[in-house]
């Protein structure tokens, strides 16, 4: 049991890293990974919202009717984002000015709604808290790693301070959006190589467990997907 809870936390760091493996939250990742200060600030804000929304959604999962679950999740997430926005505005005005609209845009970050739908709505409060913390730390780490590369090699600085050698020899293009895409692509490739290129698969999916089973007309497609998964597993077992 303890091992599985540990896995709940650890999977977000590398094997199911939200940014570099699941490729969620790409917009803020590219836009705000130009400096370490921005990256850490946005990463921490997102992680806090992720943890809080995961906990509340998990606690209310038996109460929220299935048909209105997405509006309910959005309400909860938007509430927490507004609280974080107010707090950052009040206590960290420099960060607030630096991040601008991207604090408010946490509401539409796919990582948060994705974890609410995929994990928090199906698991207990503690597991959801650990999942949110793991995914949050994973997001902070990937965003910071990108920012480190872009700020050091693109501006020759770290946290706004000049770094010897790099200050003289740097590539300003890495600070631009193009540089963001370039570094993002390279990092995805590196992580894919480290993890063996195995993207996480849905371990179990059948129509019986699907909340939309009653109204869904795609049972055949789901069946095909299921069969494909089984075939992949069989092939993997043979090799």
């Amino acid at each position: 049991m303890k091992q599985s809870r540990l896995q709940c936390f650890l999977k977000g760091l590398l094997t199911e890293n939200p940014t570099l493996v699941l490729v969620l939250g790409t917009c803020p990742t590219i836009a705000k990974s130009n400096t370490l200060f921005n990256a850490l600030g946005l990463g921490v804000c997102t992680a806090i919202v992720l943890i809080l929304s995961n906990v509340v959604i998990s606690a209310l999962r038996r109460v929220i009717p299935d048909k209105v679950r997405i509006p309910c999740y959005i309400l909860i997430i938007a509430g927490f984002v507004t609280m974080i926005q107010m707090s950052v505005h009040a206590f960290l005005p420099t960060l607030y000015e630096s991040l601008g609209a991207f604090i408010a845009l946490i509401v539409v970050n796919c990582i948060i709604l994705g974890r609410a739908e995929m994990f928090a709505s199906k698991n207990g409060v503690l597991d959801s808290l650990l999942d949110g913390a793991g995914m949050g730390v994973g997001f902070i780490l990937s965003l910071s790693a990108m920012a480190l590369i872009r700020e050091l090699f693109g501006a020759g600085q770290l946290f706004g301070y000049d770094v010897p050698f790099f200050a003289a020899y740097h590539f300003p293009i890495l600070q631009k959006t193009f540089g963001g895409f370039l570094v993002f692509g390279i990092m995805i490739a590196v992580v894919s190589a480290v993890t063996g290129g195995k993207a996480p698969r849905r371990r179990s999916f059948d129509c019986a467990s699907c909340p939309n089973a009653a109204v869904c007309s795609g049972a055949a497609i789901c069946g095909e997907s299921d069969t494909a998964d089984k075939t992949d597993k069989e092939e993997g077992a043979q090799t």
Binding site: I64, H89, A101
Partner: protein, 180 residues
């Protein structure tokens, strides 16, 4: 009551419950954060006034009821009892949100002393870019009709806001010397 009606009622109840719960939490955070935000804004205003008019001046908020729509607050700056100038909070709605600027006007010459961005609705770069351009010009000689750039909407909105407050001060005989 049919099953469907019950389901609708339950959904409505849950949504209202979540709204109330989040609303209460937001009210608590707002109660803590808002005084601090106001304090930060006041410090920014204090710094701007000192930079524009020098230390030792006092400022007092004027409360006219016919301020231009872009001006959220107007302050009278005094030194040794005489009016030295005015500072206005300008709000410009452009791009993706509202940006706030502080405008300083010298009462004697009627010229703009400085314009600085306080908060940016759309992008930090838009405001910062505009501010740099303004700072490079001679005092008051601002080419607000800037060339096309990502910040053009902000520039146009700021140009209108500055024009509005200058003509307002002029209309109300607040400016003593050369008119803008």
């Amino acid at each position: 009551m049919t099953a469907r009606t019950k389901e609708y009622a339950k959904s409505l109840f849950v949504i209202v419950f979540i709204c109330l719960f989040m609303g209460l939490a937001l009210a608590a955070v707002h109660a803590v954060a808002q005084p601090r935000i106001d304090h930060n804004d006041y410090r920014k205003l204090e710094t701007a006034v000192t930079d524009m008019f020098g230390a030792g001046v006092s400022f007092e908020q004027m409360t006219p009821d016919d301020l231009p729509r872009t001006t959220t607050a107007l302050y009278e700056i005094r030194a040794d009892g005489a009016v030295r100038g005015y500072v206005a909070y300008l709000e410009t709605k452009s791009g993706y949100g509202t940006s706030t600027f502080v405008l300083g006007v010298d009462a004697e010459s009627g010229r703009v002393i400085d314009l600085r961005a306080i908060s940016y609705g759309d992008s930090v770069d838009c405001g910062a870019d505009y501010y740099r351009e303004f700072s490079d010009k001679d005092k008051g000689e601002v080419d607000l009709v800037a060339s096309a750039s990502p910040a053009r909407y902000t520039r146009a909105a700021v140009r209108d806001a500055v024009s509005e407050i200058l003509s307002y001060l002029d209309r109300h005989h607040c400016l003593k010397g050369d008119q803008p």
